[in-house]
């Protein structure tokens, strides 16, 4: 049985559809219910629906053999896993955003609100810019509005939330999409089925 960790929510639904397309459906029992485990013994797979930020942990620690996760999570946590495919879905980008009338004061330490602390740290270190990170877990957009920080580093999909909060994208740090990842030990012990899934997924992905 191959354990596959998927992020709960919209991306997880898309990925389940993708896996179903290549012959690994979850047995037609998935109806947005509250179950966290979907099993299809005839296809030899068990889907684990977990919090998106936990997918990589399940895979790195071997509770799941493979998983699908956003590149943002991989960049921030640097889990020791194989990243086998860019699935090209769940596309967005990690950006620096600030108030619409924002002008950077180069003489002061830049205050940055984000949940992607490692990404923000590495980005500003590469630009040799001194920053102070304030870690927030949600509603990041509030931080510059209330003067808690100067800017935010966050995921931007359509930019609508930013606009509604009178913020704008200042810089794009990195484009993001969903990745197929595998545990290093599982890749050896369950090599045939993991390679088969990778190849089949590659065939159905837009070229």
């Amino acid at each position: 049985m191959l354990n596959i960790a998927l992020p709960k929510g919209r991306l997880g639904d898309q990925v389940l559809a993708l896996f179903s397309k290549i012959g690994y459906d979850c047995g037609g029992i998935y109806e947005n219910d509250r179950r966290l485990v979907l099993e299809s013994p005839e296809n030899g797979v068990r889907y684990l629906l977990v919090k998106p930020s936990d997918v990589a942990i399940y895979v790195e620690y071997g509770a799941a053999d493979i998983g699908v996760v956003g590149k943002d999570i991989l960049l921030d946590g640097s889990p020791d896993v194989y990243e086998l495919l860019d699935l090209g879905i769940g596309k967005c980008r990690i950006c620096v955003a600030g108030p619409e009338d924002y002008v950077e004061d180069r003489e002061s330490v830049l205050r940055v609100a984000t949940k992607f602390t490692a990404v923000a740290k590495n980005y500003y270190a590469s630009k040799n810019r001194e920053i102070q990170i304030i870690k927030l877990n949600g509603s990041i957009e509030l931080a510059p509005i209330l003067g808690l920080t100067d800017v935010i580093v966050d995921i931007v999909e359509s930019g609508r939330t930013l606009k509604e909060n009178h913020l704008k994208v200042l810089e794009t740090i990195v484009p993001i999409s969903a990745r197929l990842i595998a545990n290093r030990a599982s890749y050896l012990f369950k090599n045939d089925v993991i390679c088969q899934i990778t190849e089949k997924l590659q065939e159905v992905l837009p070229k």
């Binding site: 020791d80 896993v81 290093r184 030990a185 050896l188 012990f189």
Partner: protein
Amino acid sequence: MAMEGESALRREEKITLRLRGLYEQYGYRKYRMGKFEEYELYMENKNFLKNPNIIAFPDLDGHLMALKPDVTLSIAKNTHATKESCEKVYYLENVYWLEKQSSGYREISQLGLECIGKLDEISSYEVLCLAMETLSAISESHRMQVGHIGFWVSLMDGLSLPEGVRGEMLSCVHGKRLHELKAVMTKASVPPAAIDLAVRAAALCGPFPQTLEKARAIALSTGMTDALAELESVYALLAQKGFSDQLTLDFSLVNDCDYYDGLVFQGFVEGVPRALLTGGYYGRLMRKFGRDLDAIGFAVYLNELDLLFRAKHLLDADVLILYGRHAPRAALIEKADALRAQGLRVRLETCVPQDVRVEKIYTFDENGLKEAGKDA
């Protein structure tokens, strides 16, 4: 009463004992080192360490010392080996690392061996053979992944890459991120044919004979063909020993090129999600220490065995005997010793202790021994 033979040892301890015997059969001598080492050694070779966070403290004379995070660096620095005289040592030491998820330091028991001097394919074979034997002593279901750093160094030398790109490329190779490897090389203006070659090399993974065959088709430089020849000759010896089914040749296995320069390998057993054995050639490290010597070795992280055997030693004792106030003492001791003589672990208590797991509970009184909850 003295414990008899190996039966009182935990499985990890039995394995360690067996492996020490095995290493000594190959002429390896036990190496013992102090708990502390000069901090400077680790700072100068930070990238060699699996984890660069070190516990440091000032010595009485003001020297900054460290609780050792690694054993190989100390052995390599202090080796008496010369080109004429090879040093073969094994060790069982505790090292101290910062663990990523728990954000705290852990003491880790590490078993390993090092072979330093003028080495040849027999030395490589012996070390890999001992690594395979180590894995099979731990679990029947095991795999060894083997790669070659020299192959990648030679491939990249031929590309005249800008500063920093080599590290980025190797990081992509290590994570099998072929899509990103392509992007990194394209950004560095590498010609498309060379990108294609590197991506094909990074994807090479599988049984030795077939993978070597595919690798030969893309080996353009002497360095690459030399690496393949070395892999082939060591594989032939390992296959003769019957190890071929457990060996995977994987060109994505790369470590830091500043230290490693030849064969590299990682061992896995089913049930442990990470490599529990890592090793390879580290001649470059020796040269950093100003010694023109070869070196190969491996380390096993014994703490990972806890994951494997956790379910198997859940019981603290086989039998718990609860004795009453009036139980005849001499007969009680006689009964317990008789059970111990049968190889059982027996614990005597007046009431059931908390957090102690036993298979069977007996009571003992003037009427003798009977299973708890059952009338005689």
